[in-house]
């Protein structure tokens, strides 16, 4: 019996179809189940002789076909009528007649693939190892000989009786087939190769995961680069045409757009705020709710950062500039100041358009109409102030009253210059500290400087401060902050006289 362990079965060789047909019938009748005939081509009648039952394969084919058909129908319905409904050539979104060809093809495809693979699976193939293949004569099973092999695995297998049965059937040769004593475990090199391959498969996945959850400095990979980058100019793209690589050409000094020129001539009031050198006093368009809304919106976008949401001059940028102790920073005006409110509309418009003092012009950034809208809104904003902005905006900013009428013409001129030369932006006349100290009571007061010295604010001091503000820095003030607008000696004289008049 130790032999049978290593035995695979008994093999008998036949030469003709007739022989194998009759032999097969005999083996069948002997009651064997684990046996088979091996022939170089399909032999008709052998199924009957062996008692092979009809395969269930067609059922798999049928099911696969029905699956393919339903999937094809569902797929097209879902894709073209549900998930991305799309009209084309006047056909309904779900066009059954047009779906038939694909349904049909999928039916066939599913059936064919299923038939093919199920057949191999049912046949237990591929199975490259076979004890029979080790028998030399068995090579002719695919050429011109017919074989019957009864396997030891058969419950009624008995080497002697099987051999005698096969002898009876007229076999030309009978041979015991060994079951090779080989390990079923794959060799080490194969396992290693498999491990390496398996590890290799993870690498791309890790790269993808990394790309997904990290940031990159480099632009994306364009798998299909061709039409992502077309040779056409898009806004603000560089151009190889010019040396500096800019497609948008900077304006030459002193130029302004033809269009503006033209329009300005046509309606100078609307476009410049001035007619014949005189500011417009009214907004050159009906002031509607829409205009005010628009003005408010534009104000919030363009002005609020510096002038504050309430126009008090206390915007975030200003605060930031202060916190950075920015030298030469001129604080944004409090737009509620009377002198601003009193300006003609045209002047306000001009300030927005062309800038004033340290405020740049916004002509390029805000359209003409929007600038007028802002002017209109300003009026409303200032009106709110009068109506009790305190409740609305909290701490009321200081508002200068008209002040006394100066008898001295020099002082009067100084008071005028105080406004026009923008001193007013930082220095109040009522003792409030704005950016810098108030002019009220400045003259004659004692100044303490950062270098420890002191001085009385007399005319000489004032003259020096206006000419060279950084010569002496009063304690608590930042050097370099004060900006001197172009000023003549007479004007300086008038200003000093004005400040001296505020002596307390």
């Amino acid at each position: 019996m130790s032999d049978s362990k290593k035995q695979f079965g008994v093999l008998a060789e036949y030469e003709t179809v007739d022989e194998i047909l009759s032999a097969a019938a005999k083996v069948r009748d002997a009651g064997y189940t684990k046996w088979d005939c091996y022939t170089p081509m399909p032999v008709h009648g052998l199924d009957d002789a062996m008692g092979v039952k009809q395969t269930r394969l067609p059922w798999f084919t049928l099911c696969a076909g029905l699956t393919g058909a339903s999937l094809g129908l569902l797929m097209q319905w879902w894709m073209n009528a549900v998930d991305y409904p799309f009209l084309t050539s006047g056909k309904p979104q779900w066009s059954l007649p047009a779906n038939i060809p694909v349904i049909f093809e999928l039916t066939i495809l599913f059936s064919a693939l299923t038939t093919f693979f199920t057949m191999w699976i049912m046949n237990n193939l591929p199975r490259w190892f076979s004890p029979l293949a080790r028998v030399e004569r068995f090579a002719r099973a695919t050429d011109d000989r017919f074989f019957i092999a009864i396997e030891t695995a058969d419950p009624i297998f008995n080497a002697a009786s099987a051999e005698s049965l096969l002898k009876e059937t007229g076999a030309h040769a009978i041979e015991a087939v060994e079951d090779p004593d080989e390990s079923a475990a794959p060799p080490t090199w194969f396992r290693h190769a498999l491990m390496i391959a398996g590890t290799g498969l993870i690498i791309p996945l890790m790269i993808i995961a990394y790309a997904r959850f990290s940031t990159q400095d480099q632009p994306r990979i364009h798998l299909v680069p061709d039409m992502d980058f077309q040779e056409k100019y898009k806004a603000q793209n560089p151009s190889p045409l010019f040396e500096d690589g800019r497609a948008a050409r900077p304006q030459l000094a002193g130029t302004f757009a033809m269009e503006d020129d033209h329009l300005v001539l046509e309606d100078p009031g609307y476009y410049t705020g001035k007619v014949d050198g005189e500011y417009l006093t009214e907004i050159p368009m009906p002031v509607t709710r829409e205009l005010l809304e628009r003005g408010r919106e534009r104000f919030m976008i363009n002005c609020a950062a510096c002038h504050g949401y309430d126009g008090s001059g206390n915007g975030t940028v200003h605060k930031r500039a202060l916190s950075l102790q920015t030298a030469g920073w001129i604080p944004p005006s409090n737009l509620h100041q009377a002198y601003i409110a009193a300006q003609p509309k045209g002047q306000q418009f001009e300030s927005i358009s062309d800038g004033i003092r340290n405020m740049p012009g916004y002509k390029a950034a805000i359209t003409t109409e929007d600038r007028w809208a802002i002017v209109a809104y300003l009026e409303a904003l200032q009106g709110i102030e009068e109506a009790g902005a305190q409740q609305l905006w909290g701490a009321a900013p200081a508002v200068e009253d008209a002040g006394p009428v100066d008898s001295d013409p020099l002082v009067a001129k100084g008071r005028e210059l105080y406004t026009s030369k923008t001193c007013i932006a930082c220095h109040s006349l009522d003792g409030t500290k704005l950016v810098s100290g108030s002019f009220l009571g400045l003259a004659g007061s004692e100044r303490k400087f950062t270098d420890g010295t002191t001085a009385i604010a007399d005319e000489a001091y004032l003259n020096e401060s206006i000419t060279n503000p950084n010569a002496k820095i009063v304690e608590g003030y930042t050097p370099g902050l004060m900006v001197i607008p172009p000023i003549t000696d007479e004007e300086r004289e008038a200003l000093v006289a004005f400040i001296m008049s505020l002596k307390q």
């Binding site: 293949a133 994306r220 980058f229 603000q236």
Partner: protein, 225 residues
């Protein structure tokens, strides 16, 4: 017999073969699907800009409205990168511009250099649609689609980063169901906006769709023209 025979262990290959036959297509499809997805390729793009402009400071801390700089966004298809002049409103030196903030900053040197007519600043485009895709900022912004829907919380970004895939499928998501992405146009640049009174965005969006007459198209020619 000397001829080659398949050893017994080749039988062990059979499950492996089956696994490969079933697994390989799945693996390859997944690899392609995730590997080539814009979520992998495009999201997370964070280029270094020539000037370390911080949106977090300007738009976030200072609360400067997006439109202060990108002033064409509600008027044109293209949301303009501001000209240097806009920067100089605050960051000039008196000669090239009026503002004086960070007058001495090294980082702003390229800006001043460019303003003086030197090398132009080459801002690196972060959100770059393919050239065959047409996108109109004004059309979206004026109908209540906020900047944040496509660009994310730029007001919290030190360096601007692409956070959305900007793929066609992603565009279509919104074109097919715009309601949850809409807000009142007044709040368009308020990136942290949430509906008042605990209402859902869906609910508010439905009303706004009605109000703004929002009917996004899905034809090819909507974007490819």
């Amino acid at each position: 017999m000397s001829l080659y025979q398949f050893p017994r262990w080749t039988d062990a290959l059979r499950p492996l073969l089956g696994l490969t036959a079933l697994g390989a297509p799945v693996y390859l499809v997944l690899l392609f699907y995730y590997g080539a997805s814009p979520k992998t390729l495009a999201v997370g793009y964070e280029p270094t800009q020539p000037v370390p402009f911080s949106h977090a400071v300007h738009a976030g801390e200072l609360g400067i409205d997006c439109r202060y700089c990108h002033n064409t966004v509600d008027k044109a298809a293209h949301a303009a990168i501001p000209p240097i002049a806009t920067c100089l409103n605050c960051h000039g030196d008196g000669e090239i511009g009026k503002g004086r903030i960070h007058l001495d900053s090294e980082a702003l040197e390229p800006l001043r250099e460019a303003a003086r007519g030197g090398e132009p600043l080459e801002w690196v485009r972060v959100h770059d649609l393919a050239d065959y895709a047409y996108f109109n900022h004004a059309a979206h912004v004026n109908k209540g689609v906020s900047c944040v829907e496509c660009h994310g919380r730029v007001d919290q970004m030190e360096v601007v980063r692409q956070v959305e895939p900007l793929s066609m499928g992603w565009c279509l998501d919104c074109h097919r169901d715009p309601a949850p992405r809409l807000r009142p146009v007044e709040e368009i640049t308020n990136l942290g906006w949430v509906p008042e009174g605990g209402r859902s965005r869906e609910e508010v969006g439905r009303e706004l769709m009605e109000k703004y007459n929002v009917h996004p198209k899905q034809d090819c020619s909507t974007c490819h023209r």
